[in-house]
Each structure stands twice: as C-alpha cells, then as structure tokens.
Assembly symmetry: C2
C-alpha cells in the first residue's frame, strides 16, 4: 500500500522518543488506575475516552468532574489533552494523554450554546447520535434515517467553530453523508468497520467511508466483537481488512478505534443498550461479548500495530495507522475556527 | 485616614494609563451593549457581574453560555477576566473586564465536584447563600442562622483550592464568622454596609466586618437603597460612612460594590425576591427601589470615587477604595491552591 507523505508528518516526534506515537480513536473503559496502566503498557500515547453516552447536561457535568478528579489523582500517569501539542507534551513527560469525548449529543440537549460550554471544559469529540434518533439526526439502528436535522446542521457548524471533532460511528448513513457535507473540516468515524468486512448495522457503507475519506477524514477500524464478527475473528483477518481499506481510500484515512470496554460489570451493558429509552430486556441477561484472545483490551494495542508491520506495512505506514492519522485530524479540528 | 503601602501596590499600573483602575465589587445588571458602555463611561476597568442567583447547575450553564455569547458579540468592549493579569490586560486594551460570579451556591446544588467545573468555566466568586438557608449555611434573612454546615465547610475549602472567592454579602452572621474561620485565604463582603450606617438585615455587624478585615478581606460598601436607607441618602453621608469604616478597619479593607441593577423591568424583582421558594406576593406590585440621584448606575462610579478625593482622601486612598483593594484580594484568591 502507498503512503502519502502528509500522513506521517504530523506525528513528528516519532523518532524523538522511543516507540511509535500510538493513538486509540475510542475506548469506553471504566477507568481505574489499573486500566490507565494497561493503556500505557499497550504503548499508547493517547486515548480518546468516552465521558457521556446517554447523559444529559447535568449528568455530564458530574462525569466531567469525575474526570477532573481522576486527572488530579493520577497526575503521575495521565493528563487531559485538548490539543495535539498536549498529546506530544504528555508523551514527552511519559504520561498518557486522554482526549475527552461524547458518544451522543445528549449532553447538549436541544441547546446549541452548550457546545461552547463543553468545549471550554475540554471536550473535543462528539458523536452526533448514539443508538437512537435524537435532535441532531438518525442513528445506525433506526429503520429510517431522516438525515441531519436543521438543529443538527447548526450543531455541526458550532462544533467546527468550537473545535469539536464530528464523530459518525453510530450515526445513520444519510445523517452521516449530510454531516460530511455540512462540516467545513474533516470528520471521523472513530470506531466502526466497513460493511464488507462484517455485515452489522454498526458498520459503514462504502458511500459513507468514501465520503469521509474524500473530505480528509479518518476511519478508526474497531475491535468491538459486534463489528468484527466475534471472538473467532483472527488477527490476520483484521489486518487484511485494514490493508484492504487502506488500498481503497488511502492509508492516510485509516486508523484504529478499538472500542475497548475494560473494567465494567455485565450490568453496564444494560445501560449502554437501553439507556432510559426502553425497558430492560425481558429474561435476557445482558453480557459483554467475548473478545478475541489477540485483543482483550488496551494492553494489546501496541502488539496489534506491530502485527501490521509483521504483515508487511512499512514503519511509516504503521505509524500513520497507529496514531499519525488521528494526530493529523486532531490538529485540523481541535483548534476550532 | 492612614494608608498602608500594601493597599495600592497591586493596582500597579495606575500611573501607566490615564485615570484610576476602578473595580466595582458587584453589579447585577441585565447586560446590554448600552449598559456595558455605561460601565465604561463610569471609568470602570472591571466589574464583578452576577451570573446566577437561584439557578441550579443546568440553568447556570445557560447563563454562562449567554455570557460567552456576550463576550464574543461585544469583544471590542468587554473581556472575560479570570485573573488580575486579565484585568490589567483588558484595561491596557481599553476594554472592560468582567469577573463572573454567583450570588448563591445553588449552581453547585449538593455536589462538591461542581465547584471545580464552574471554576474551569471561569467563575471566580461565589456567595455562600442568597436570601434563604441552603445546603451551605444560613442567610441574613433567616430568623436563626445555624452556621456553616459540614457541606459548607467542604465548599469553602474547595473554593479556596479552585480559586473561587468566598462572598458573604447576603450570608447570616454566624455562617459568615464560621466561613471566615474556615477559609485559608481572605474573603469578601462584595456588597453590604455596616449595620451602624443603616439598620437592615442585609447589613453587617461589627463582629463580621472586623473578622473579615482581620483576616485580610475586603468590604464593598454598597449603593443599593435597601442597604443605604433609600434615595434620600446624600453622597456626603455615604462618603462619611466609607471614611468612618476605613478608620475602624483600615482603608485597605474598604472598597465599593454598588449592586447596580440596571436594565431590568420591575417584574425581575419578583424573581430575585421570591425565586421558586415562595408564592408571588399577594396584591403587592414589586418594584425596584428608587436610587439616589448621585448614583443611578455604573456610569456614576467614577464620580463617586472622585467625591472621596473631594472630601479629602488622597489619590492613593481613592485608588485603593476604588479598585486597588479588590485587585489585591482577587490576586490572593483567584489563582487557587
């Protein structure tokens, strides 16, 4: 696969400190000190971490407060990053950079002005919908995706202005295409795979992937079993998917967003699946899916990128997929207008 | 009246730019462009502006968002200040600095962690109670003030840490004394007068004033008619009160907090008086009190300070009361621990 020069330049300091600058496009762990260490052990310099899924504005404030306490409590290990400069500085100080993001627009409710408020609190990524239609658009699970709403169009513009990256991972196909059009800067699919790799509502059509890539965005290939086909998937098959996707859209648009969900009890799946919008599933005990033995959590992130090199990726290509492409996109979007 | 050297040093640049560096310790206007201009016309470099009174966390976010929009819309005229350096810089650029504050702890509800969240959003002052008892302590209007609560003691400590100035203006006498004790840094009475000047629940006992001053705090003498005795009060009587208070506690502890309330219709008084805690007053049409002709709003702030000079205050003394003392206290508290 070819590698445009642009793709590795932004990571810059790859040669300056040992190892690759690795960035995971999304993790949704229940972050304890042990799991922060797991991420560092996996060689990661930066993780985009979810801090709201179904929460409204008030509940999100408490989640952000918990993150502030976590940053203070583990300041030897982790730092809140709101820019690529912060990520580079964290790496130089031997710490893990965390970019905070939402997997829903529920934190802003129907209030456009809250985008700037949360941006000022250091939130840098927002997914336009989680698993149900909201004020902004249709989700990937709706039978009919009506597209980006009038409010949604304003939301995308305000996110562009305030330096919040648009994430389309759980978003429906029509809303996704219209959001790519509405955004003045490149957007992300932080954690999803192509439909041709595994046929699931959460995965993406060629049209959406192509649109995101054409406008300079990045697709984070994901390890979440629902999006890969399950624990039986081999590392080789996953790497082949990354390689094929890079061949189709250009390696500068391909990265990893593992969707690692470490530390949660099975009961947390109920919350993620049902929120407050539908009753708990009857007679069904929700449980986390089984992960493949080659990716059970962030500690194996570095090994996954090494597997790409073993497969024949050049060092520069592995650096781009492993972190450089996210760094370029973060640099293009986090500063705002 | 004597003037300790300490009192004028912090304002520093008084000689560097024309006119005194004037700071109003509290205004609660409905801030339009016209009223921002009024404040500048009054010679003010900085105003501590109220952005929440009865609002809970969610409603306060919208109030803060409105301020962000106001700062952006009038950025030729006004700037959000979170430090004394910001105030000096605003003055040098010919703009009015606004310090945002709450007149209640309602924005943090019963959640200690929200102090840091609002501090990060740039809120630098919080009054422990408005007109009724809350989670933190007793107000000046309660028949019995039970003192600073256990939560209140934690709130004061967290405010010290996060760089939020403790304001005791509407706070009951026992809670005030206990808050002075609890705080590791000086505190403020941003807008109240001594009881000996006018006998009203909102004014302060000698014990509270003495305690605030002894610990290095500042008392902002106020123009609000309820605290002065009404529109018939003369400028001369007000200046005599400032002079007597300076003689009692030291001029470095005396400043002005006008409580200017420009731009609101009479219906807003209903909200301030009753919030959601009691029914509207029956048969009574609430109305703003009449202000004295020598202080109808922020445009007359500079003239008020000039009246102190005309009375015999030295230029340094007028600079201390007019802004230097607030600058010193802001410098001691806004950076946090």
């Amino acid at each position: 696969v070819g590698l445009p020069r642009q793709a590795v330049t932004p990571s810059g300091s790859v040669g300056a400190t040992p190892g690759r600058l690795l960035v995971d496009g999304l993790q949704i762990n229940d972050w304890s000190r042990e799991i922060l260490i797991e991420a560092k052990d996996g060689g990661l310099s930066c993780v985009h971490a979810t801090c709201a899924v179904w929460e409204d504005a008030r509940a999100t404030l408490s989640e952000i407060a918990r993150w502030m306490q976590r940053f203070a409590q583990h300041d030897d290990l982790v730092v809140h990053a709101v820019s690529t400069a912060d990520i580079v500085a964290a790496r130089e100080s031997g710490r893990l950079a965390i970019v905070l993001g939402f997997q829903n627009t529920s934190p802003i409710e129907d209030d456009l002005s809250l985008i700037e408020v949360f941006a000022r609190l250091g939130v840098r990524v927002m997914q336009l919908t989680y698993n149900i239609q909201n004020y902004v658009g249709g989700s990937c699970y709706e039978p009919h995706d009506g597209g980006l709403t009038r409010f949604g169009s304003l939301v995308v513009g305000e996110m562009n202005r305030c330096g919040m990256l648009v994430d389309l991972s759980h978003v429906g196909p029509r809303t996704s295409l219209e959001a790519v059009e509405a955004s003045t800067v490149p957007v992300a699919i932080t954690h999803a795979n192509p439909l041709w790799f595994h046929d699931a509502s959460r995965n993406k059509t060629d049209a959406v992937i192509q649109a995101v890539a054409e406008r300079g965005g990045v697709i984070g290939c994901t390890l979440y079993p629902l999006c890969t086909g399950g624990a039986e998937r081999t590392l080789d098959e996953f790497c082949a998917m990354v390689e094929r996707l890079a061949g189709l859209v250009g390696i500068e648009h391909v990265a990893i967003g593992s969707d690692a969900a470490r530390g949660w009890p099975d009961t947390h799946v109920q919350w993620l699946r049902n929120g407050r919008w539908r009753p708990p599933e009857n007679g069904e005990a929700p449980a986390w899916p089984e992960w493949p033995e080659w990716f059970r959590g962030p500690a194996q992130f570095g090994a996954l990128i090494q597997a790409l090199v073993d497969r024949g990726f050049s060092e520069a290509e592995a650096a781009a997929v492993g972190g450089g492409n996210w760094m370029r996109l973060f640099g293009q979007t986090f500063a705002g207008a």
